[in-house]
Subunit: 345 residues, 4 copies
């Protein structure tokens, strides 16, 4: 059995991770930690675990002390808080999967610019592997630190990479317009997330300034060899979970939809968790799963390809992707514990 | 491997069954049938199964012919349509789990009165076992035909039985006020189920006339030995899934809440899938699972016990309860394939 | 023009009041007060008023000083906070419409028992008139203080009174099972009201202990002359606004539905804002309006009448009923400013 | 009093029109017509009008015969069906406001290309005025036929025009990514619009092929004098009403956000119904109103302006804009009957 610990287990991503790991046949959860809920039973925080997981949350400090006993540490803390924890775990020889943004950017200066924080473990940025399995599987296998991708970047990168790698994109800003369910905003309390405020409303936020922008650009650029220039706009739509990214790429030559589609199908032909559809994706069809659905169109009037990509923000955008990474790192069947169809409705 | 077939696999309950059986380690799905979608790939009807279950639906007629090869037939057709199919399967020696109402009522006259149909297999009503595992486990083990309970009755009976068996109820009508997510109304198209009509609205329907009433009365009466008299009002609330039943029972003596609560905890102490809470249940905490959560209060001002019971209408109210029944019938671990925590959020 | 002030204008009920009064042809809003948002522009708190109502909120203290200049004070503060404000306004000769619970109960002892507070203006409880226009219109006309009814009591009392006044109820507990949209829980932040927690969930709360219980009993008893005994259970369902109360009354003789229905139609035949339907009400059909829709059934199996009543909790359950009361007090056409059809969808 | 008739009064836009016109102080509704519901009482179709509007719907044929008695005809039929009705009304000298797409495009060839229909009244295309009041007020005053704009074009054009007229846009495709509440899809029944299918899902549709594209291009081009090239993607998000358009325009020189913002504020400074915000708009803040809220940002990394525009799709995107047009045509105060703040929540 793989012995794992979860730091920051009571946020939405942490909880989703607990849900998956509890049913993973090769995993034993050693501890759950939480600074907000230290000492409380997990089932008092999430009543869904009543008489299933009545274990108490330990503090993050206590968790760090127990880390050397682990095979894998999952770290689901906010950015800025992860760095030191990850470093300590790494130095103890424990594999770490970090769900925060702290190890995603390769350049500490870019990190500082967007997160307004000095990176205190810049020396480990080269060690960390960006955990998008379909694009970095080989490096993930040997990684000691996984930077689990952000939800928006996961959906956008999977959608755009094939067209960039094919050299079809003009050097023009790529527009990424993403729509996320509200769980992406976390469990912290503020008025704008109250049901009566968020229900029946759609809004954009952090226009031209969201921190996932450099992450998307870094990966698109390094994967394709082009210098990707991205304008990214996140939106909140009234649903619990789900994420749809609509990506607009100006092409450098005229193609047709069938050509693009078969190129995409070919690109992902060996990938179980990425499905290229003949139709357009809907978030409901990937809900509660690790799947990414991609559909696309080409507009010959404007010369633009429109790629639409759907994931579950808490699963493929966070927890189930983390488990997929763990499976790869530990040479477990990649699908183990996350191999179920989306849950509908 | 257990070889199963699913007739009526494309309704909401049927689809939920497919989702569960696909991941059941001991089950092979032999066929999926549907009269509405005969010849279509399952993944064209529910895109969530893309490249996971691309098998085509066969007609119900073809399904009936293949039934003798099965170990278990799941029948998820509307009431009235199930009778003959169940009979044929039974006569072939195949075990049947019927999700319709056709074999739930023991008395063909009561069936006729509420369903306005003659029962054509009244001789099998005594053979069929009402599949509420916590209350009929022994009979389920040996059953050839399971009448899988209705969603409303499941939530109401589990909530009320302990108090009736304890002889605490006065002979006064029991009020059952239930709230269901809209998936309970099925996938058929009508205006009242359109998003813009159903969203932001709550309504009662079939007041004093819903067909689950005699089912609840039959079971409460036979399980408790009292003559239960029930007034039942179903409501539709704007959510995909979930069911909450608030049950009002006038007691014949003054008790206190703690007494009732410990009586309930004791009643269900060996039952994994029924959790008695100190707090009040919420449908979100059982979502996507086979669990039933029960909470209660006692009002000494009126002498009434109020028992609140929450289930997922498509899971414990239909598909996962059917799987639980199958497990029991086949002497598989009762939790197999349905042993995961509720999915939140 | 009627000069009004609104204390507590930034809660959900207060905001709804502002919305109505802004369009009332005979009203001038003198001030808006708020302790939480003192000094902020109203349109910064509710952006819907941008460039429509950019006036700043004054403190409640400043509001109280300005009260003597008013014709009518609306007080939309929490219970306990209203008493003294209402008293001061009354002593200045200003008419007051209080949306809190502070002046609804006639008996200071009952108030203390349920609200766990001493009533500091018990001498005014006899002066205050319970503002349910259809049932107390004559007294409202001459009132100086209106205790604007609670949302749950409004829906329940309008639904039950006719049957009680007709002497048809057996002396058995009346069961009132109410479902409210989440705006009823106010704008304060707590986790249980976050979208991702409240969406897709239904729950009961304060079973057998909600403070609207004595208010309902007081009014049903005094209006009917019977001694009403009520068990009331409020529920939260995932919608912004709307309230449905399902009321169960055991009758003392056998009737039929048509008889009850024509009795109800007769009872409300002169009332514009209460519609008795042949069908069952749905909250969407009264949304955003002052209307109350009532439908009913009779179950001869149990001898129980089931009356279902729908209102908009923020309108008829709070703000528009307050305006209706103001109109009556000031001899303005009762419908003025609230005479529009429900808004659908 | 202005005598009006409404053809196609039972669709969602038609109903919203009825709601507004019923309260318009200068309007008398002469008839309501509907082919689907001919002979039914309006209050049986929309129960919200019970005992408010119990008038029966006449057939569209009967409606056409009564048209010569009107001052204004509102035509809320699907495209293709409107042409002949509008023509007849026009020939009788009745002013017409057509909510369909039939008279929006100036070029019958473009109409044919996108709507796959021959235009049978191409001679009237020059007579019809595109009813976007802020941009065509003078022509609307004298118009006999108003082509009421589509919902998507209304939000997009109001958002983009100022930047184009200022000559700031590079000749590159403008990306318009719009999110609409589901009422925009109408009241017709299909599975994809059922609550359990549409809830908790976001999807794009008609990518690169939606018929509002040429309407947007026509207006942007003629209003700005540039040759606008637009790629437009509509999305459905799970809410009843509301529309948010996020528009991406590559600028031909470096500006800053403050500059753009003051330019927009200046552009709309005399317009009551278009509010330029310092913050970003949310659909909830315009809900149930005729207002359009606009916010924006500038990304100097990509040289793109992002303009976000919010309307209520049934109000400013259909019915209230139609009333605004009527007011202008008849020299009534432009705000009459639509001058209320958005309804929250």
């Amino acid at each position: 059995m793989v012995n794992v610990g979860i730091i920051g287990s009571t946020g939405y991503a942490g909880q989703q991770l607990v849900w998956l790991l509890l049913n993973h046949p090769h995993v034993n959860i050693d501890f759950l930690s939480s600074n907000s809920y230290e000492g409380l039973k997990y089932s008092d925080i999430y009543v869904s675990y009543s008489q299933i997981l009545d274990e108490k949350c330990i503090s993050n400090e206590a968790a760090i002390e127990k880390t050397p006993d682990l095979d894998v540490l999952f770290c689901a803390m906010p950015h800025g808080k992860s760095m030191d924890v990850v470093k300590k775990a790494f130095e103890s020889g424990v594999k770490v999967i970090d769900l925060s943004a702290d190890f995603r950017l390769k350049d500490a200066q870019v990190y500082k610019q967007w997160y307004e924080l000095d990176h205190t473990c810049a020396d480990l940025l080269g060690t960390a592997v960006y955990g998008l399995p379909e694009l970095h599987r080989a490096s993930i296998k040997d990684a000691q630190i996984i930077a689990n991708p952000g939800c928006y970047p996961t959906s956008a990168i999977l959608g755009i990479v094939p067209i960039l790698k094919a050299g079809l994109a003009e050097s023009y800003p790529i527009v990424i317009d993403s729509k996320s369910g509200i769980s992406g905003a976390g469990r912290g309390c503020d008025i704008s997330k109250l049901y009566a405020e968020a229900n029946e409303s759609t809004r954009a936020y952090k226009v031209a300034s969201h921190r996932h922008t450099p992450e998307i650009e870094q990966e698109l650029s390094s994967l394709s060899g082009c210098d990707a220039n991205v304008i990214f706009t996140p939106h909140i739509v009234p649903m619990n979970r789900g994420m749809l990214s609509t990506c607009y790429v100006k092409l450098n030559k005229d193609v047709d939809r069938e050509h693009l589609l078969s190129m995409y199908k070919d690109f992902y032909k060996d990938e179980y968790f990425v499905k290229v559809l003949d139709s357009l994706p809907e978030t409901k069809w990937v809900r509660g799963s690790n799947f990414c659905h991609i559909g696309l169109s080409y507009d010959n009037r404007t010369g633009m390809a429109v790629i639409v990509s759907a994931i579950d923000n808490l699963m493929r955008g966070a927890a189930s992707q983390a488990v997929q990474n763990m499976n790869i790192m530990l040479d477990i069947d990649e699908k183990c514990g996350i191999d179920f169809a989306p849950m509908f409705p």
